[in-house]
């Protein structure tokens, strides 16, 4: 028996509401992400160019396979049957079927009971006083559902970091509905990986694949939210193809080198397995921003991080402090970019970082790291993360105003939490530039919003080119530095010396007085969601 509105309008509305609910849930998940903080760091393993592990059926020689359609004895290297043209990579046939059954039994459902912190735990006392009456915030227990992949050692399961954030208790449920208590071994928000341990008998780790390409299958436990009812579906198989490698800019993790596929995956599939046609693990599903787009952490990158998390070793990652991005409308306008060389752009620098101290500026293109040409953020990231903290300096080749510049930087150890300058954070969050206007009539002075990216978050929040931010928290601003000082001094719980190291869900609130062109002023609340939630790509 289901209840619901009963006209087509209502149906559309219901769907819209469901869609919105899904978005809210995702945002909720984003909020929950802050729990574990950026508490550990280690280099992402394996330069992408290192020899791929041949991990399927380790130790056993490859035997000829029979074609599932015509029965012809086929060489294992063939992609298509020589006799009937059958795609041998499709997961059908007796042997593949048996392997598939084993894989579908190996992936587990994760049920996490979490406690959201109270509002006063995450806001400055002043903000708490001013917002507590009109902010809806439900602290307390809630449940999250995801999937997890057995990996590396029997008893270890990998899922997304955000699933495990703030967990009070974690349970894994097998495909035959047996429930096992699990303990969280480690969470690494920087890479988006979380590891739990559960003594589940009879489940073997899935071996990692080499470079994934072509057909991949998602194995996971879908969850369907229907009004206030949660329907759990049994373990499901979803077909798709790899549509990209070394993807970045998803804001699902800071250090991204992601595999992209064309799966449409339902809720509950985060942390699920992507397997290739030989039944090896291609990746762990990190998120799906829309239908037909799914991102996964490649299995190659899982191994060392999962190992370190499982052994509870600190992840020692090198840190330069540069925000690497692909250029967009506002950056093109801000840095006067006419042509776009195929290199990542330095979008911003983290304050007090090695990069900020060195001769490096926002607007530089990063051409090469240590003499190796880098074309994408992910490639640059992989190369930068292979440096040794405190070790030999790394020579960076930059392209600045058409000229190549070299600088060398000694990386430090990546801190648990990376705080951007509040003004930089606001510009990243709004996907718009803030330009200082300190001349002309006093009424037209302030921080001018410019180059709002089409379809970006600022546009969603109804910021338009030419809007003027005239004051923040009641204090007039004309300069970015003043803005930074105001925010820093009013939020000692984040920017002060005694601030926590990032394992709590801290945020700060700004009330921005905005004067739209030719209109009256309005005051807009803005909640900082950096650095834990939006996960800026800072290396």
């Amino acid at each position: 028996m289901r209840s619901g509105p009963s006209s087509s309008d209502a149906g559309r509305r219901e769907r819209a509401v469901r869609h919105a609910a899904r978005r809210v849930l995702r945002t909720g998940a984003l909020f929950l992400a802050l729990a574990a903080g950026l508490s550990s760091a280690a280099p992402l393993p394996g330069d992408a160019d290192s020899p791929a592990q041949d991990a399927h059926s380790p130790g056993t020689p490859q035997r000829p396979r029979t074609c599932p359609r015509c029965g012809y004895l086929c060489d294992p290297a063939w992609h298509f049957c020589v006799r009937c043209g059958w795609d041998m990579q499709s997961l059908i046939g007796k042997a593949a079927g048996d392997r598939l059954d084993a894989l579908m039994r190996a992936v587990v459902r994760v049920v996490v009971v979490k406690t959201a912190p109270k509002l006063q735990q995450i806001l400055s006392p002043k903000d708490y006083k001013s917002v507590r009456h009109y902010v809806t915030w439900n602290p307390g227990h809630r449940k999250a559902f995801a999937s997890a992949v057995p990996f590396l050692e029997p008893g270890l399961f990998v899922t997304t970091a955000r699933t495990l954030a703030w967990s009070d208790s974690v349970q894994v449920v097998t495909s035959n509905n047996m429930e096992y208590a699990a303990t969280v071994l480690g969470v690494d928000l920087a890479s988006g990986i979380g590891v739990v341990k559960a003594d589940v008998p009879g489940i073997e780790p899935i071996a990692p694949a080499g470079d994934a390409a072509g057909a991949v299958w998602a194995i996971c436990f879908p969850v369907v939210f229907e009004n206030d009812l949660v329907r759990y579906l049994p373990v499901s198989l979803h077909g798709g193809k790899v549509t990209g490698t070394r993807e970045s800019g998803t804001y699902m993790a800071s250090l991204e080198n992601l595999l992209r596929s064309n799966h449409t995956i339902p809720d509950g599939c985060l942390g699920g397995a992507l397997i290739d046609s030989r039944g090896a693990l291609a990746g762990m599903i990190l998120g799906s921003p829309d239908a037909g787009i799914t991102f996964a952490v490649p299995a190659r990158d899982l191994a060392s991080i999962v190992g370190s998390l499982a052994r509870k070793e600190p992840l020692q990652r090198p840190y330069f402090g540069m925000g690497l991005v692909t250029e967009d409308d506002r950056r093109r306008a801000r840095f006067g970019l006419n042509d776009a060389p195929a290199h990542p752009l330095v979008g911003f620098l983290a304050p007090s970082s090695p990069a900020a101290a060195a001769d490096m500026r926002p607007g530089d293109f990063l051409v090469a790291v240590g003499g190796d040409d880098v074309a994408t953020v992910a490639a640059a990231g992989t190369r930068l993360l292979s440096a040794t903290p405190g070790g030999p300096p790394v020579v960076l080749t930059l392209l600045r105003a058409g000229h190549q510049v070299q600088t060398s930087i000694t990386p430090t150890v990546r801190p648990a939490r990376i705080l951007l300058d509040p003004a930089d954070e606001l510009q990243e969050a709004l996907e718009a530039n803030l330009i200082e206007v300190s001349t002309g009539p006093t009424s037209r002075q302030g921080l001018k919003v410019a180059n709002v990216v089409r379809g970006g978050r600022g546009e969603d929040d109804e910021f338009k080119d030419g809007d003027l931010i005239v004051s923040v928290n009641g204090k007039g601003v004309r300069r970015l530095e003043t803005f930074n000082q105001i925010v820093r001094s009013e939020n000692p719980h984040i920017f002060g010396n005694a601030a926590s190291d990032g394992d709590t869900f801290d945020m700060y609130r700004l009330s921005l007085e905005v004067r739209a062109q030719g209109e009256t002023k309005d005051v807009r609340g803005y909640f900082s969601r950096f650095p834990g939630i939006l996960a800026p790509p800072v290396y």
């Binding site: 009963s6 290297a77 049957c81």
Partner: protein, 492 residues
Amino acid sequence: MMRRVVPVVLSAVLLVLLLLAAAVADENVCPKCGAPLEPGAAFCTRCGTKIEGGPARPAAPREDIRRSVVQVVAAHDQELTSTLGAIEFGSAVKIDSILGSVFAVAPGEFVTDSGVLTGSRNVTLRTADGRSVPARIVGIDPMIGIGLLSADLLDVPVVKLRAGGLPRLGEGLTAIGFPSQRRAGQTLTTTAGIVSGLHRAELGVHPIEDYIQTDASLPDGFAGGPVVDAEDRVVGMSTAWVFGEIVVLGPGPGIGISVPVGWMQRSLDWIRAGRPPRAWIGAYTLPANPENRALYGLPENVRRVIEQVFPGTPAAEAGLKTGDGIVSLQGEEVSSLTGLHDRLLRTKVGERLDLVITRRGRTMPMQITPVARPDRARFTSLDTLRFYGGLELAPQGDKALVVRRVLPGSAAAEAKVAVGDELQSVLSKKDLEHANRDNARWRQARTSEDLDRLMEMAYSDFDFFVGLKFKSRGGARHDLYLSAILGPSSAL
């Protein structure tokens, strides 16, 4: 002289050799991807290209399966009022027509989803080449979700059903149908996917569920269309949850569900046999979960538990009660609702069944004789309030009905109705029709008889709606609205 000739000859020989090698290579590489070919290859093993001149794969010419699929327009020739719509928008809502897909299972006989046809008396079939033909509803099986139509469209080829039945996990399937959205073109379309899982049940779409789950996101209008395998044999029928004009295909993104061919055939046999009475015992069951296991003290091996018993049914006569765990039916261990339904479908009305239940730790065998399944079974009015609202009422003398119990987390609890509150008045569905929320008539309900009479007026063919006004001892007033869409019941 020799010195001059030797290099020339040598180079000529080399050239010939090179040309020869090139010629040989030309014959033995794939014309598309350049990979070396296996001897006698019919296909390239790297890119799958067919090699001209290679041994041909014998392939029988195939009928285009898409010619078997036709669009159905199920028009509602009456204005259907909906209480839920009235509550949402303040007035009743008219339902026009539902678009779905059908396919030919016999010459002139077409199968579709039952939800597309329910409530409609005027059905038209529209072929891909633009012909419109009136169709007659032969029968609807709301339990399995199949509807059978007949129409004078004898030239539409009949589909081939897959004899082996269920597809394998991971097998590639194709759903065929007519999208109903105007901007989706409304022309015959196919959507590919793979089998995500089998035996999916208890999704709340039809009473008997044993679906094939695919990863194809189906467009609206695919309800009733065939799902075929690589050889164009039908393995299932796309199904949907339909209420009024709302058609929901699949419970979420990337999830499509279809009724497997085995169940479809079973349903068609039943419809063609003139829909003989089905066995029914009159009990509503729920899966045993940790909560009701603890509540009723059920052992681990019990998978289904009796939630409600309908009055005057074999279950009530045999003494079944809420909380009884079902151990076995006719000697077969019971693990799922589908299994129970399967057993009952194989039972004739009047045939005695052995039922074993467990109550408070004691195993009790009992015998039960099913009667004919009614079109619609109804709870008593007090049971209706308990089932949908989570509250129990008891008469206090002749003057009032008083809340005796409120189940935690229920609609009643959310409406802040508390134990001891007195029922004041009732707004029934009949009184809301042709009225709106604000001027509708609330009637006094002081006795069980009042309540029974008003609750009778709360039901329509499609849904159920009732509003209840309560007054607490302290004088606080609370309104409770209960409504539900009445699909065919999954009660046994």
